[in-house]
Amino acid sequence: MSQSQTAERRARPFPPEAPAIVLDHVNKWYGTMHVLRDVSMNVAQKERVVVCGPSGSGKSTMIRCINRLEIHQEGRIVVDGTELSDDLRALDTIRREVGMVFQSFNLFPHLTILQNLTLAPIWVRKMPKAEAEELAMNYLRRVKIPEQANKYPGQLSGGQQQRVAIARALCMKPKIMLFDEPTSALDPEMIKEVLDTMIELAESGMTMVCVTHEMGFARRVADRVVFMDRGEIVESGTPERMFEHPETDRLKGFLSQILRGH
């Protein structure tokens, strides 16, 4: 994309069919270590993208750049028509529209499940408490653990905690959901319950970007798989194409490792 086109796009109001997320030549360094190298990618509305790659390939960093938990140093990131910048209002808007689920759940241990869910609707969306609680119970029912509402995170299993974390993000009614290795910290028997929740969410038409190694999940719901290695996007395509006919040696190597591992 040339410079003039970029400027033109910035000037025009965003058309409704515009991509939900645009990453345009994004670069990032930690100190002198180059962790994102010219990463460019578009995610359409309602598209489900799975990002995979070996550890240290920059996939988590990329996804964390999308809601500015990490700050990129070069290039452009546009989320839902708002460009990420130092501007705090833009940041507030994006954080409201983008939900995130972390590898280590990051539930607030001193609050009950219900309080975890209602905190942001009350303080960010300025919702009345009763309404927020009703909303929260709705989502708890959707992730199938309404009976845990008054417990504390420490009393729940890992899988339940991660489902609560998903419900917590959904309570903000985000347009986009980011998942950063949501099942990596879970025991095998709990992975399924979280994946089921995510599949259900995907089938409801949510825009999703998901960093995961769960190939079954990718095959079932992903529109596109993106393979990253050493800070750059190496290859991308439909799950079938990527898994059956990998083009690059790096993806072949990665797939063989994953298959051996499972």
């Binding site: 991509p19 360094w29 002198t32 359409a44 529109d223 690059t248």
Partner: protein, 389 residues
């Protein structure tokens, strides 16, 4: 599924270029170097910049004045008159603008060794060196073995021999004339040597489930001692202790203070040791029981070696605390480092130069404590790494 043939505007970075070898970067990281560092860490925002400039100005201003006071305008020595009295006119003149280090050059022997006979002061000097050597050896991990106990016993015996004398042609020096840094080191080191075993017994007693009466005794001891200030124990040692003893038995004042310090230290150390005992996984106790070890075998061979290793950093920190707390014996009139500093100040000619004396004393205490705390933190990091692995 709507779009697998996706809007992917930049396929160039994707599969098209299979590049197993990563080429060198086209553009380097945003400029590094001291200027970038300063912009990030000193001038990150206008607020940060203001703070940096304000503090910087103060540091420069006070730094210059401090250097002038401590070095440029300082008086390093003063003349003496015929009778050996120091003539401090030069110091009096420099007051406020320059330090009077002459008081240190005049009094350092008194501060370090107290009233120990002047010609014999090489003996406490050797003792100080022995103490420091003992600390250094104890700090080295390759000496963490049973033999260390032996090293301690021998060193402490040699120190006692040197201080008292009376044999091998050394003149006898009564305890009343000891003073200065050796007293501080003796109180701290002997205090540790005796309170540590006591604290282990108390900690074990407090953890015991089979001996409720002993447990109660240990809890009472620890909580009572920790609830009162050290001073009250020292007062007890100085005024009440003589009443406890049968008639005619008179225990030396330093020894009485030493006993108070041991009892005080043991209560605090016991809590640290108890923390280690609690941190040890239950499986270790069960494994030892399953092997058929007796209580003392289990404790001595399995539990304590691990539990004590866990709490070495807090033990060192507690020891730093006692080292500082030994200065409290000044209040009951024992000639430690701090009191000898104060005595040095009592001479009329030197009376108004307390700042200089206190700074030197602070430097001595700081050197010991800082070395220990630096060591404890290094150890903490090292042990933390080892257990995480």
């Amino acid at each position: 599924m709507s779009g697998t043939a996706q809007i992917d505007p930049v396929p160039a970075t994707a599969g098209a270029t299979p590049a197993p070898v990563i080429e060198e970067r086209r553009h380097a990281a945003p400029a590094g170097g001291p200027w970038a560092w300063a912009r990030l860490n000193l001038f990150g925002s206008w607020w940060s910049t203001a703070v940096t400039l304000g503090l910087g100005a103060l540091i420069v201003l006070w730094g210059v004045r401090l250097v002038e006071w401590a070095f440029i305008n300082a008086v390093w020595s003063v003349p003496y008159n015929a009778s050996g009295q120091p003539q401090t006119a030069a110091c009096q003149e420099a007051r406020g603008v320059g330090a009077c280090w002459a008081i240190i050059t005049d009094k350092y022997r008194l501060i370090l060794f107290g009233r120990y006979p002047y010609e014999e002061q090489w003996r406490p000097a050797i003792c100080i060196a022995l103490f420091i050597g003992l600390y250094v050896v104890s700090a080295m991990r390759r000496f963490w073995r049973r033999e260390l106990v032996l090293i301690w016993l021998v060193t402490l015996a040699v120190i006692g021999l040197l201080m008292w004398g009376g044999v091998l042609g050394l003149a006898f020096v009564p305890q009343d004339s000891w003073g200065g840094l050796p007293i501080t080191l003796i109180l701290a080191t002997f205090g540790l040597a005796f309170s540590f075993p006591l604290s282990i017994l108390v900690a074990l007693g407090r953890r015991s489930t089979k001996l409720p009466a002993v447990k109660l005794l240990c809890v009472l001891y620890v909580e009572l001692i920790r609830g009162v200030p050290l001073i009250s124990l020292l007062f007890m040692a100085s005024v009440m202790f003589p009443l406890f003893m049968p008639e005619g038995v008179n225990i030396d004042k330093v020894l009485r203070a030493q006993i108070a310090i041991i009892l005080f230290a043991a209560a605090y150390l016991a809590e640290v040791v108890r923390g280690g005992l609690q941190a040890l996984p239950k499986g270790q106790y069960e494994a030892a029981d399953a092997l058929g070890l007796t209580y003392w075998q289990k404790t001595g061979k399995i539990v304590l070696p691990q539990a004590l290793r866990l709490v070495i950093p807090p033990l060192v920190n507690t020891f730093i605390g006692f080292f500082k707390d030994t200065s409290l014996v000044l209040i009951i009139g024992i000639f430690d480092l701090l009191l000898s500093g104060k005595i040095a100040l009592s001479e009329p000619a030197w009376q108004s130069f307390s700042t200089e004396i206190y700074i030197v004393l602070a430097v001595i205490y700081f050197a010991f404590c800082f070395a220990m705390s630096k060591y404890s933190r290094g150890l903490e990091r090292e042990l933390g790494r080892a257990t995480r692995r």
